[in-house]
Symmetry: C2
Subunit: 372 residues, 2 copies
C-alpha cells in the first residue's frame, strides 16, 4: 500500500506538496477550510481545523498528519496524539512555532543566540525594556502573527499601549542592527536523521519575503557553519520532524541571531523545487513518513526565487504567460491558483545559473510581468 | 481565468502532466476509463473514450483536448473538431501515430528515411517481400500495437499467416541491422514554434523501453543534427502539436531510419522531468495551449532513466523505499501508483551527473530495489 499523508490546511504549501507526492506515489489528502483553496486538487475534506471532531475524522483516513500552517490548536493536536495518530511535527515541538514567548524562553535556555527579549504585561514593563535598549524595540504578539502581522516596531511604550488591553502578555525584543537576513532550512526524521540545505539570504519588503538567494552570497565557511549548527541544535533539542525553517539576522557585528521558527515548508525554501536535488516539499513528505531523506545539493551555482506578490490588478497570472514565458524561457513559473489581491502571495519564479547578476536579472524580469 | 487542459486517458502520462499543471496553475481534467487509474488525482470524468457523446461532454469543460494515448477513434476526434473543440494534436496529425501503414506512406512521400516496407494483404505478398529482403522481415499490424504488441519478426511467410485471416492489411518492413536505437523528442505549438531536446539513446528489453541515456553518447554533431532535422521535418509536415517522439534506428552503415512515431509525452522523455530545464510534460501542456515553449537544455551532463518494469512480486513499490531511498539519495524516484504486474511499467528512476558510468550505476542500483 502507498503511504497516505494528511495535510491540515489548503494553502500554497499544501499545494506544492502535491507534485512531490505524485512523483513518489504517496497519497496526499488535504483538510481545507473552504472549497477552491490553493491545494484544491488534493482536498478531500472540508472543515474547521480548530474543531477536534473534524480533525480526528480526517486523521482516520491517513497514516500521518502534517501541516500547511501552524494554527491548529494544541488541544486538537493533543487529541490526535491521544487517539494514536502520528502527528509530525509533534505538538510538543510545534508549540515553539506557535508561541514566540515560549520559543524565546526555550532557545535562551538552550544557550542559542537570540536578540535580547522580555515578557511584558504592561506599558511600564515595556517602558523599562525600551529604556535599557536605546528607547526602541520590537513588540510582538506571541501567537497568530505572520508576514509582519502581530509585529510592531515601537519607539515609546505608549506606541504599544493598545496591545496590552485585556491583559495580554507580549514579547518585546531589541531592534537588531543587521546587515542582512538569512534562513537555514533543515529536515529531520522521527528516527533522527537530518539533512540541511545551504543557508540562504532572504530579502524582505514590508515585512514579507520578496526574494531569496541560494546559497547566501559570502556565506561559505563560518556563516554557513554557524547557521547549520543553530538549525541542527534547534531541530534536535525540540524534536522537530519534517522541515524546520530558522530565520536569522546577520548582525553588523557579525553574529547570527535567531528571529523566527517555522515547522513546515517555508517561503525561503521554494527555490529548492527547481534548485535542489530534493525540494523542501519532497523532503517534508519523506521526513514526516520517516523515510530516508534525499540529497540537498544545489542544482545550480545560484538560484534566485522572487515572490509574485499581489499579482495583476486585472485578470489572472495566466493572462500574462504569453509575454512572460516568451521573455524568460529558462525561468520556472509557479502559480498558486489564487485570485490576485494586493500583497497576497500568489506565485513565485525561480531562476538558476552560474552568474548571480544574470540569475537575479532573469528572476526579477520574469516576476515583473505579473505586477500591476 | 486559468486555462483548462482535458486529457483523454488516465495512465501514467496523464499522471505526470499533473505536477507540471500544478506548477503553472493550469487546471487539468482527465477522462479515465475506470476509477483508480494512475492519474486518479486529476480524474474528473469516467467513461469510454470511444464513445462520442462521452468525449464531447468531457470536452465542454476544457479549453483544449489532448491525450494520454493514441487510441481515440478518428470518428470521435473529428466530431470534437466539428463541435469547435481545440484538439491537440489534430486528428489529421494524430492519424499518422495511429496507423503505421499511413505513417510509412506519408514519411516515404516526404522523402524521409524509413526502412524498406510494403503493404501486404496475403501470404504470397509477404513471401515476395521476404524473398527480396534476405528471407526475413518485421510484420506489423497497422493499428493498436505498443511495447512490442502487434509486431512480429518473421523468417518465413508462413509465420505471419494467422494475421492475414479476415483479410487484414499488414505492414512488413525490412529487419534493420542497427547498432543502437535513438529517440528525438520535439514539442511544437499550433502557431509553429518548436523546441527540441537532445537526441537520446534508448535501450529496449523484450521490445519494451528499459533505459534511456540523455544525451545519446557520441551523438554530438552529425547524428544529433540529422535526428533533429528528421523530427523537425515530421512535426512541421504533419502539423504535429504538443510533444512528438520519433524513435529511430542508427544502422550499422551509419544512417538513421525512422521506426515509430508517438504524438504525446513518451517514455524516452521521462528523463526530462529531472534532467531538463523544461520537462516533456510541462512542454506538452505549454504547447497544446499554444503558450511559449520553455528552454530544453540539460540540467546535468548525463541523465539516465531506468524503467521499473513489473515491480515487486509481493507488496508495493513503497514497501522498498526504506532501502532504496537510503541507498540512492541523489536519485529521483517516480512511482505511478499502479499495482505491480509482470512487465508492467509501474515507475521509473532518473539519475544525473558528470560521469556516465556513475550515473548509469546509480540509476540501475536504484531501480534494482524494486525487482522481484
Amino acid at each position: 500500500m502507498s503511504p497516505t499523508v494528511g495535510v491540515i490546511g489548503g494553502g500554497q504549501l499544501a499545494r506544492m506538496m502535491v507534485p512531490a507526492a505524485i512523483n513518489l506515489g504517496i497519497d496526499i489528502r488535504v483538510l481545507a477550510e473552504t472549497a477552491g483553496e490553493s491545494a484544491a486538487i488534493a482536498v478531500t475534506d472540508l472543515g474547521d481545523y480548530r474543531d477536534e471532531a473534524t480533525v480526528l475524522e480526517f486523521a482516520q483516513s491517513v497514516d500521518v498528519i502534517t501541516f500547511d500552517h501552524e494554527h491548529v490548536p494544541q488541544s486538537v493536536l493533543k487529541a490526535l496524539v491521544a487517539a494514536g495518530v502520528s502527528v509530525q511535527p509533534s505538538p510538543d515541538a510545534l508549540l515553539y512555532a506557535q508561541d514566540k514567548l515560549l520559543m524565546r524562553e526555550r532557545l535562551s535556555a538552550l544557550g542559542l543566540p537570540v536578540p535580547d527579549w522580555a515578557r511584558v504585561t504592561s506599558v511600564d514593563e515595556l517602558d523599562a525594556f525600551l529604556s535599557d535598549h536605546g528607547g526602541q524595540g520590537v513588540l510582538k504578539t506571541p501567537r497568530g502573527g505572520y508576514d509582519g502581522k502581530g509585529v510592531r516596531v515601537v519607539r515609546s511604550a505608549a506606541e504599544g499601549a493598545d496591545w496590552f488591553e485585556g491583559g495580554a502578555e507580549l514579547l518585546v525584543e531589541e531592534l537588531v542592527s543587521f546587515t542582512r537576513e538569512l534562513a537555514q532550512l533543515v529536515a529531520r526524521r522521527p528516527s533522527g536523521d537530518l539533512e540541511l540545505w545551504p543557508v540562504v539570504e532572504t530579502i524582505q519588503r514590508d515585512s514579507v519575503c520578496a526574494e531569496v538567494i541560494a546559497p547566501a552570497p559570502n556565506s561559505a565557511g563560518k556563516v554557513a557553519d554557524v547557521a547549520a549548527d543553530i538549525a541542527t541544535s534547534i531541530a534536535e533539542a525540540l524534536g522537530v520532524t519534517g522541515v524546520l525553517a530558522v530565520e536569522m539576522f546577520q548582525t553588523t557585528d557579525e553574529r547570527l541571531l535567531i528571529n523566527e521558527l517555522a515547522m513546515r515548508p517555508h517561503n525561503t525554501g521554494h527555490w529548492s523545487i527547481d534548485g535542489s536535488t530534493t525540494s523542501q516539499f519532497e523532503q517534508h513528505l519523506r521526513a514526516v513518513l520517516d523515510l530516508p531523506l534525499g540529497a540537498t545539493g544545489c542544482r545550480d551555482e545560484w538560484s534566485v526565487m522572487v515572490n509574485i506578490l499581489g499579482g495583476p490588478s486585472n485578470g489572472s497570472l495566466a493572462d500574462r504567460y504569453d509575454l512572460a514565458l516568451a521573455d524568460q524561457p529558462t525561468v520556472k513559473f509557479h502559480n498558486y491558483g489564487k485570485d490576485p489581491r494586493p500583497g497576497r502571495k500568489v506565485g513565485h519564479v525561480t531562476a538558476g545559473g552560474d552568474d548571480l547578476d544574470d540569475v537575479v536579472y532573469r528572476a526579477r524580469a520574469a516576476s515583473a510581468f505579473f505586477d500591476n
